[in-house]
């Protein structure tokens, strides 16, 4: 699970081109949006596409569900490990 968290941190940094940040700077439990990393809804779209490409996971159209998955790196890792196709 930790390996997956590490992978996802890298994916977040690469996808969103978060310069000045290294994977170890991201707290897996910290919120990704607004406070924390300060990501926004467009980042969520980009990240959703990247996750789909990397792990074949499709995000539901239910925005409340999505908000839960995007809460933190850890939440994303949980979601990916539960739904990944490979």
């Amino acid at each position: 699970m930790q390996a997956l968290e590490q992978e996802i941190k890298k994916l977040v940094i690469e996808t969103l081109n978060l310069e000045d940040l290294k994977p170890e700077d991201i707290d897996p439990a910290a919120p990704l949006f607004v406070e924390g990393l300060g990501l926004d809804s467009i980042d969520a779209l980009e990240l959703g596409l990247a996750l789909q490409k990397a792990y074949g996971v499709a995000l539901a159209s239910d925005s409340k569900e999505n908000r839960r998955h995007f809460a933190s790196v850890r939440a994303l890792a949980d979601f990916v490990s539960a739904h990944r196709k490979s």
Binding site: N17, L18, E19, D20, D25, G38, D40, E46
Partner: protein, 566 residues
Amino acid sequence: MAERIAIEHLLSRGRPADFPVAFREGQVLTFADFEARAAGWRAAYERHGGHRFALSFEDTFEFAAALLGAWHAGRCVYLPSEIQPTTREKLRGEVDGFAGQIPSSTPLLKFQEGARAEWTPLSPEAQALVVYTSGSSGEPAAIPKHLGQLTREVATLADLFDDRLGPSPCRVLATVSHQHIYGLLFRVLWPLTSGRPFLARSLPYPEDIVAELSHGPAALIASPAHLKRLPDTLDWAGVRGNLRSVFSSGGPLSTDALHACRGLLGQAPVEVYGSSETGGIAWRQRTQDEALSWRTMPGVEVRLTEDALAVRSPHLPDGNWFQTEDRARLLPEGFELLGRMDRLLKLEEKRVSLSAMERALLESDLVREARVVPLSEGNRSVLGVVAVLGPTGRHLHADSGKPFLNRALRKHLSSQFEPSVLPRRFRYLEAMPVNSQGKSTEAALVALFDSRRPPLRVLEHTADRAVLSIETPASLPYFKGHFPEKAILPGVAQIEWALHLGRELFTLPPEFLRMEAVKFQQLIVPETLLTLELTWTQAKGSLQFKFTSEAGTHGSGRILLGEVRG
């Protein structure tokens, strides 16, 4: 023409008791009336205590008396342009009392009937006034002014325009409020100084203007908003013989409005260019030439900073240059205005003013200079900040690191800007990159965000030598495919860095001639902390570079540069 008396001396010197100061509902309000009201207001401030008072009046005569009363009581007057509940609430925290027509629960200053006063001259240094900008980007800003700024400007107006109002009597009519700096100067302070009676009420409707003009000679203090809405159905021709002069300020007067004025009022308005911060800067009257340039007011100096007009003026609080955001072209007799600089950008459907963001960054106390530039990045546009840090920012950068400083600036901006437009890229420099004309071009700023430029810090920098600390993160594009088995930084990247950084730090000739003594002693692998030493020898046109790290010297050489030939 009446004696000209500066505001500082108006009450102490005085005018004849029956001198007409204003008209209200056909009644003459005399200097004796004015002095009595000013004395009553002065007593009211003195009884109330406190230094700062917000004034909001509909009646300009009463306002003028309350204003002079406040100044003679040594008080500072806050002049809100409107008095909506939110403004009131905000003012409550800034002032010690309110006077005038202010609705609802606000306790008001009580005018002291029958008060008498001994008048002494006012000091030009007195902190007399706080006016507000229109706040085109967010919150209206408070602009403090001392009395001398106002009276110097009034003297200029009197020098320039008194003659246009012709022999007495000539009343001053206005469509604009005295709660703005333009109305305050033109319909209150200038008439008081030059002894022109003014109308106590405003004339928002053209019908009222026609009616007042039918009573006798007058000047009209107006704004483009009113002048572009003059109905041609009114009998302007019958009354315009009484219109001695029209003034327009507060925004640009369109050519349509200009034509309407020429046609209906029989004259072109005297247009005045200025702002709440600067006061009056220039004026013009486009009687024939529609593109007539602006003539700088006496005592006002102008120059350009990156196409935008800068002003030094006795109407400003000090002798410093004030940078406007109006683009201009200087001409022998004045200048031509070319539009606003305020750089507005649409970012993911959100409108954002880059200029407002730059101002907000400066207010953070962390940065000394800041520029915000749009960067296109894959599918989206993001904002990048190029900043020169102040002492506090430097400490934060050194102690807590760049990501922490980035977050601090984003947090500071988040009170004024939506999360999705907050800057995502930050570059902290020793000095802004400037070209040979001393300007920071947008292209030079954007180049700082090129992914091929490594993260770096300037450790030392003189006219001919610089030492930089350079990181080589694995994400640098130079490492991609060079080589697939083991990533190393190509020698050309080192030369490119040396040349680009050399151009940023020194003024180098444009032409690359050749290289000498280039050696690459050791490989540079990802995540190496490098030191780059650059030495510029102008006499030889030689830029010497040396990359070192804990492991020793990696690469060194000389790049020879010269002027363009032919």
